[in-house]
């Protein structure tokens, strides 16, 4: 079981004082947060990919991740997500393979479609083709990491004749791939078909829905002969704000929650806590809630938390990470079950 954090890189005013960090401050803070994540013993740091304000996440995550590879020793570097729809799969194959070499294999990636309508036309694509782009582009990416002299013809990109993407994956092992989706069964099917990981960022959604998507992925993973359904590689999103006691956590987080770009001005914090995986409370409460994810998702392999969003200042995020480190140490005591044989480091072809 891996624990980590993921960021969307939002540049949001701090609602408690109205201060907005500059893009430069946000980008440097992201580096500091990633380095801190390693210090507190997390397994994974993942960054989103964005092409529009108010985000200062990298447009090409390997730029950030290569920098982090040089600044860290242990932590695995990943994405949340890499846009499989609007990026050229050839560039994904090459940039991430290069990152894999720089990071000595300490990386993987999560593919997603992106949810900002205009991003598609900015890159000459159509959002109505979202699923088809994800399916076709990955079919090519999957081959590029496994075959040389690839001949390819599809709907969305110019054909390839005898193309070998460079560099080749480290030690001939393609980077491990997760497919992220909240509500498209096609993506669960795709992950199952290839025997890849399936990540449900269920931060904003009630558990019942996530349970069905995960169950679908597990059943199809077994159907396609990659192993038992219970060994399918499931990852979940989560979101925490910690304080020594729950009243302080709620009091401190409420101003950020109330006007947050994603869920602000809607349900109360209490309602949100009751119906989604958002965890705001004492370490004990966060541990209990996180352990509860297993009740509907089964035993899973990666838990990523969102900690640096909605305008929370850097020093708060760093203090949050100190507490999260202790929470994760506690969570690990519940991971008694031995890891399945299939390692996450590489992906069988």
């Amino acid at each position: 079981m891996e624990y980590g954090i993921f960021t969307v890189g939002d540049v949001t005013p701090d609602p408690t004082n109205g201060r907005t960090p500059s893009e430069h401050e946000r980008i440097k803070a992201t580096v500091e947060i990633a380095v801190k994540a390693e210090e507190i013993g997390l397994d994974v740091f993942a960054t989103g990919e964005h092409h529009n304000p108010p985000f200062a996440a990298p447009a090409n995550p390997p730029v950030l991740l290569a920098h982090l590879a040089a600044k860290t020793e242990q932590i695995k570097l990943s994405t949340s997500t890499t846009l499989i729809t609007t990026n050229d799969p050839v560039r994904i194959a090459e940039d991430y393979a290069y990152l894999q070499h720089l990071a000595d294999g300490r990386m993987d990636l999560m593919l997603g479609r992106g949810n900002t309508g205009p991003v598609y036309p900015w890159f000459g694509k159509d959002i109505r083709d979202g699923i088809s782009l994800a399916i076709e582009n990955y079919a090519l990416l999957h081959r590029l990491w496994r075959e040389e002299n690839v001949d390819w013809e599809g709907t969305f990109r110019t054909p390839l004749q005898g193309f070998t993407s460079t560099p080749r994956p480290l030690d001939g092992t393609p980077p491990f791939v997760w497919h992220g989706s909240i509500r498209s069964p096609e993506i669960a099917e795709q992950a199952a078909y290839y025997g890849d990981g399936f990540f449900s960022n269920h931060i904003f959604w009630p558990a019942e829905h996530t349970a069905r998507m995960v169950a679908l992925y597990r059943a199809r993973f077994e159907h396609y002969g990659h192993g038992r359904a219970e060994d399918a590689v499931v990852g979940l999103g989560g979101q925490v704000y910690l304080a020594k006691n729950s009243q302080d956590a709620i009091r401190e987080f409420r101003p950020y929650f109330d006007v947050a770009p994603v869920y602000g001005h809607g349900p109360s914090l209490e309602e949100y806590l009751a119906s989604t995986p958002l965890s705001v409370g004492s370490p004990e409460q966060v541990i209990e809630k996180t352990l509860g994810f297993r009740e509907y998702a089964g035993s899973y392999r990666r838990q990523l938390f969102l900690v640096d969003h909605s305008g929370l200042p850097l020093d708060t995020v760093l203090r949050q990470l100190d507490m999260l480190g202790e929470v994760v140490a506690e969570l690990r005591k519940h991971d008694a079950a031995p890891e399945p044989e299939r390692a996450l480091e590489g992906s069988a072809s």
Partner: protein
């Protein structure tokens, strides 16, 4: 299996003439249809959850239950007051957040109330197109009640005849239908998907 009729009523006052019209329509439909379970969904207490749904993209609690009731119903009676020459925003919001496809093939009776009969075409220019878009089967007779319809000669005259006629049409549609439990959005998505080779082929991979 007893059939279920979901009655969605968007009246805001208490008592509400919109609710009154909804009850009369439900009663008339039940009379025409025989044993039937009527589930009344008042939108007023769902106003906050509806606004939340617009912001979060998901329903919780009573709203989730109400949406499921409508999606699973054998027929729907939808009644709104007229606000600014159309259905009320609250009424529209409920159908905005209903999962796409939830009303596909469902018989629907549309009705509206207003202070004046000059709004009566709201049934034809607002409600009927909305439910056509949702692929519901809207019965030919819609029922409009202006304030004056509740007075002398109204309730026992033309309004009652329209109610009975519309209810009769709805009952006939329901009786001719053989619909079992309907799939939810997840099942519909799943059914549309096919296997992975199909996906690749369908998407031109």
């Amino acid at each position: 299996m007893t059939r279920t009729i979901a009655v969605v009523t968007a009246g805001l006052s208490e008592p509400s003439s919109t609710r009154l019209l909804a009850d009369l329509l439900a009663e008339a439909t039940a009379t025409a249809l025989g044993p039937v379970e009527v589930e009344v969904i008042e939108l007023r207490p769902l106003a906050h959850p509806l606004a939340d749904h617009l912001l979060t993209g998901f329903a919780t609690g009573d709203l989730a239950e109400a949406l499921e009731t409508v999606a699973q119903a054998d027929a729907v009676i939808a009644v709104t007051p007229v606000f600014s020459a159309s259905y009320s925003g609250l009424f529209k919001t409920f159908f905005d957040v209903l999962e796409p496809g939830a009303l596909e093939g469902t018989p629907v009776l549309v009705a509206a109330t207003a202070g004046t009969a000059r709004h009566s075409l709201v049934l034809e220019h607002a409600l009927r197109p909305l439910f056509s878009y949702l692929h519901a089967v809207v019965v030919p007779t819609g029922v409009f009640a202006a304030s004056e319809d509740w007075g002398a000669g109204g309730a026992d005259g033309a309004l009652v005849r329209r109610i009975e006629r519309a209810a009769g049409e709805l009952a006939a549609l329901v009786a001719s239908g053989t619909r079992g439990p309907k799939p939810d959005q997840f099942d519909r998505d799943l059914a549309a998907m096919g296997d992975f080779e199909d996906l690749l082929n369908n998407y031109g991979g």
